[in-house]
Amino acid sequence: MGLMDGKNGASDQAAAARKDEMQRQNRIRVGTKRINNTFGQFDDGFYDDISSSYRDFAQPDLDRQFGDATEKLTFSLARNGMLNSSTRAEQSADLQGDYDKAKVDLESKAKEYATGARNSVEDARTDLISTLQLTGDAVGASNAAVNRATALATPPTYSPIAQLFTDFTNGLAQQAALERAEAYSGGAVRPRFNTGLFGTNSGAVKVGG
């Protein structure tokens, strides 16, 4: 019945085109699945690990800097016999406040690294799928996905945290100079404020003896 049904060049051509299109669509489906499987390793746990490894990298440095700043403050207070004073309470609270804010910064940075990694992964996945839809090359897309995923799985390089308490410790030195100048000049030189750490502060509560 083939001849009677009109099986001819046109139907062969249409059948070949249909077959090609079905194969193309199938390759795109398979390729997309492979890309998604390859990128399946980038789950929430992966991004949590990035945040966590940044914390592990930065937190000891932050603590060390905070420790150094605490020591400097302690020595400054001790030199002036102010360890038992309200000035100590204010200064140590200021330092603690800076430390707490630095911890929030650190946490925000950890989140930022994870978000950056997530965006890079999604960009790569989107690129690969777009290319696959244009080329219909499932094997090429699959190989490219593996290469991109390997590169993306490499831990990012973290920037060291800045010197977070420099302002505080530099401030201590500067304030010391100003307050000493006030003491030596008999009040002729007046700092804008007096912490009482390095000279006399009439407002400070100081426990004697």
Binding site: M4, A10, A14, T70, S86, G97, T115, E122, S130
Partner: protein, 212 residues
């Protein structure tokens, strides 16, 4: 009379074969059209579902932002409250109740300030973070829609070929019909001459008392 039977049969066969062939072509074209319509409707439905899902992502955005703010604030305030990883040098403790109380109140104020700062930052960052999450979902949706569009374009590109092939369905029957018609045309004059005996071609066949 028997001589007319063959051309009549051939003529009738021609009409039947042509009609059958034409019906086959029409049915095939209808089938192609139906199949194309089904695919298109299926693709449109999938695209609509993805679009609807994409729209739903933004339902109650402010509520979602509040939840995000709460998540981030929780992260930051727990960081503020967490113990340092390294042992820190502590200041010597004060033996004065007044100083100790002042230290406690100053530290509490500093802690409160840090927590307020953490919550303010969480509010500030929540929009960007939430929108970033949405953007990832939207990019995935766009990828799926792109794939559906690509598939639909593929089917669109082969539709003319399929219609062309369908229009030629039954061509064999139509050719047979043409051949039968030709046969009918060729046998009819002979039948008229031989089979009709003394009848003249026109007058005796179609005239009063004629065969037809």
């Amino acid at each position: 009379m028997a001589g007319f039977l063959l051309p009549l049969l051939l003529g009738a066969g021609s009409i039947a074969a042509n009609s059958f062939g034409a019906n086959q072509a029409q049915d095939a074209m209808q089938q192609v059209s139906d199949l194309y319509g089904d695919r298109k409707r299926r693709n449109d439905r999938r695209a609509f579902e993805i679009n609807a899902k994409a729209r739903d992502r933004f339902d109650d955005f402010s509520g979602q932002q509040d939840a995000k703010t709460s998540d981030i604030a929780g992260l930051y305030t727990s960081a503020v409250d967490s113990a340092p990883q390294e042992p820190l040098p502590a200041m010597p403790s004060s033996d004065s109740g007044i100083v100790t109380s002042r230290i406690a109140s100053e530290n509490a104020a500093a802690k409160e300030d840090a927590n307020q700062n953490a919550e303010a930052r969480a509010r500030l960052e929540s929009f960007g973070d939430l929108f970033g999450d949405k953007s990832i979902g939207m990019a995935r949706d766009a990828g799926k829609l792109g794939q559906i569009g690509s598939f639909q374009r593929g089917w669109d590109s082969i539709l003319p070929l399929e219609l062309q092939a369908a229009s030629q369905k039954g061509a064999g029957w139509m050719m047979l019909g043409d051949l039968l018609n030709l046969g009918s045309g060729m046998t009819l004059p002979g039948a008229l001459r031989a089979g009709a005996g003394g009848l003249t071609m026109r007058g005796d066949l179609f005239g009063p008392g004629g065969v037809v």
